[in-house]
């Protein structure tokens, strides 16, 4: 199955796992550890009450919770039974995210931004999560959940100005593109050190419990970064203090160029790791808007009612390069994204709505056009505030601000030395 143009032999006993489809191979996912997708078996996994004993979630952690069948029906006990307006809103938010990603990728290629990261194929995870949570539940994202911000109505122009690092950037060009922060939208500041946000989310959740609020924190990490200590700290602390947190692992199969098996090792699923900590654990179809929505709702209710944290593995696929600096054709089969057996989240929700008689191709196309036009128009506004490569318009004196609450003497002296 693993076809290599040049064969890279391993002549030792050291086990080094390899992905299913290296460049040149015809992608084949039949060996992927996944339950039978064709039969409806995965749609009949039970939905226990949210306060169930954590260990009773075992089959949910090793199986795959799904609602949408590949042909667009909603099936099984996890169906959140959302009305058509909510579904259309979800579809819209996913399409908006996709359209923004497309535009920002283009402008990065035009040299107007230093960097960008798309979330193509993973939009359901961020969008459905934001819709299932309360607007003031603090989310602790990785860099691939821009859909959270967009769903919560963060001004698109502000988001784009952040990517452009221009004078419209609310962060005054301090952070690299995509490291957004918005306390107002309960969106925690993204740092670039992988995994560190996980224990912040648990600390935040502990603070919610300490203060007696019904707040819940909701953290996201890629599957690759679960190998960081911080992931384990987060599970330990949320287990010990029964923190009202939701710990999401977005398993998009790739961590830059290393496949998920490098982080997973021989473990059954990523979700399964939660069980060892006594946390309720679910593995769900991350390309299934309804499954994500249902799982986050379930976990949020569990957290809010004192049941503690839930670990959710979102089984999905990163359809594009890791970032604008990456070329995935160097390490994986070209057609892998199209061969992914769980389809595309936008297509699947669209098909579902059409099947319900609540949507059609014309409306879909029209919405796509409308969003693209809105994104382009907003981008033009954003660019009028400058770009990194032309003029950022950012006052150099701001460099010394917000290091501390008050500027200490030595920074004052350094600012003077810079001549401002």
């Amino acid at each position: 199955m693993v076809a290599h143009k040049t064969s890279r032999k391993n002549i030792s006993n050291l086990h080094v796992p390899e992905p299913l489809n290296r460049p040149g191979a015809t992608p084949d996912f039949s060996d992927l550890h996944m339950p039978d997708l064709v039969s409806d078996k995965t749609h009949t996994l039970p939905r226990p009450i949210p306060l169930v004993d954590a260990f009773e979630t075992e089959q949910l952690a090793s199986g795959l919770v799904r609602v949408l069948t590949l042909d667009g029906r909603a099936k099984g006990p996890w169906d959140p039974k959302l009305d058509a307006d909510t579904l259309r809103l979800g579809l819209r938010n996913m399409m908006l995210t996709r359209s923004v990603d497309k535009r920002m990728f283009i402008i990065q290629r035009q040299g107007k931004a230093s960097f960008y990261m798309k979330s193509l194929g993973e939009e359901a995870i961020a969008v459905a999560s934001a819709m299932a949570l309360k607007d003031d539940d603090m989310v602790f994202p990785s860099y691939r959940q821009q859909g959270l911000l967009l769903t919560r109505g963060y001004p698109l122009r502000d988001l784009m100005c952040q990517v452009l690092s221009n004078s419209g950037d609310k962060l005054e060009g301090k952070a690299i593109p995509i490291c957004y922060s918005s306390r107002e939208k309960a969106f925690y500041s993204i740092g670039a050190s992988l995994g560190t946000q996980m224990s912040h989310a648990v600390g935040w959740a502990m603070a919610c419990a300490y203060k007696g609020t019904d707040g819940v924190s909701c953290a996201f990490t890629g599957e690759g970064a679960t190998a960081e200590g911080d992931f384990h700290y987060a599970l330990t602390f949320s287990s010990t203090y029964r923190a009202p947190a939701i710990i999401n692992i977005v398993n998009n199969q790739w961590a830059i160029s290393s496949f998920q098996g490098i982080a997973a090792g021989a473990s059954k699923t990523f979700a399964y790791r939660g069980l060892g900590f006594g946390l309720a654990s679910l593995r769900i179809d991350g390309n299934d808007f309804l499954a994500v929505y249902a799982a986050i709702k379930w976990a949020a209710e569990r957290a809010r009612t004192g049941g503690g944290a839930t670990v959710i593995e979102h089984f999905t696929y990163r359809k594009e390069g890791h970032s604008t600096s990456d070329d995935p054709s160097k390490y994986r089969a070209k057609d892998e994204p199209n061969a992914w057996p769980l389809g595309d989240p936008v297509d699947r929700l669209k098909r579902h709505l059409i099947l319900m008689g609540e949507w059609d191709d014309e409306r879909h196309e029209a919405l796509e056009k409308e969003l693209d036009a809105y994104v382009l128009k907003t981008y033009k506004e954003a660019e009028s505030f400058g770009t990194l490569t032309t003029q950022t318009g950012i006052n150099p004196a701001t460099m010394f601000e917000k290091v501390y609450e008050d500027m200490p003497e030595h920074l004052r002296r350094q600012r003077q030395e810079l001549g401002i």
């Binding site: 301090k174 922060s181 306390r183 560190t196 648990v202 600390g203 935040w204 300490y210 609450e405």
Partner: protein, 347 residues
Amino acid sequence: MSDQVSQKPKMKQMNMIQAINSALDVKMSQDPDVLVFGEDVGFFGGVFRCTAGLQEKHGLHRCFDAPISEGGIVGTAVGMGAFGLRPVVEIQFADYIYPAFDQICSEAARLRYRSNGDFTAPITIRSPMGGGIHGGTSHSQSPEALFTHIAGIKTIIPSNPYDAKGLLIKAIEDNDPVVFFEPKRLYNGPFDGDPHSPAKNWGGHELGLVPEGHYTIDFEKARIHRAGNDLTILCYGTMVWVAEAAVEATGVDAEIIDLRSLSPLDLDAIVKSVTKTGRCLILHEATRTSGFGAELIAEVQEHCFYALEKPIMRVTGWDTPYPHALEWEYFPGLERCSRAITRIMED
């Protein structure tokens, strides 16, 4: 001194452990957002007893044991701080702060900056540091320079009970993350750097006389431990007391400056003193190369070059791990410091 003491304070004789305990108690009583946690700090009250009685007095939810996970302790504290609490966490020994280093350096220190003020981490990280208790490689380190090198945190090292309490309260109230190192050899009394001289305690010592209630000491304000005209000695923590003994032994009219706050640094006090004395000796227990002394030397030569009569000198720990059996050969004790004073005073 710019210390702000509320009303007329009732004073009490305390050692450094009691002073730290009192600071925590005062803040926990005043502010329900102050939480204390760390390894063994709850029921037991900490391996050095700094949190003794706090759980009983303020409740299990205010002072509790944490998993043995320094990264998790600081990481959760950052999240709590972002929420709006003021966690004070204990890292059991400074030697074990490294698993938390990423959370301190990449997260606590940068959160305000990268979010442009949207989120902050008003947390205090307390940790016993330094040698003199036969702690060997793993219970003696002085890693302060690793932290002064990081923009966005403050690094504080008190040398006595009075300062410890006022500075710790200040640290808890500060809206930036503070790393607060406690020289463990000073917990029970000042230490002159001679392991053979009888142990002293803080009883009867004027710096052991501590207000019972709330007071703060500003950062960025060094303390003139001893005024003098012929030599400036820059030091902090345990070395303040070694400096005092060495000055006494050599009979030199030295000015001993206890920096207390390494970052931010009271450069004015340093420049003023060295300009007056023309000689500068730096003492620290930490290893020499890239130690905080190097930073002090750079600042002193830049600002006092024309006032200097002799090259700036430093006495430090050797560039080795902290040995167990040879602790006193490693420690920059009375003898080495006295010798340096004598040398720098030669014409």
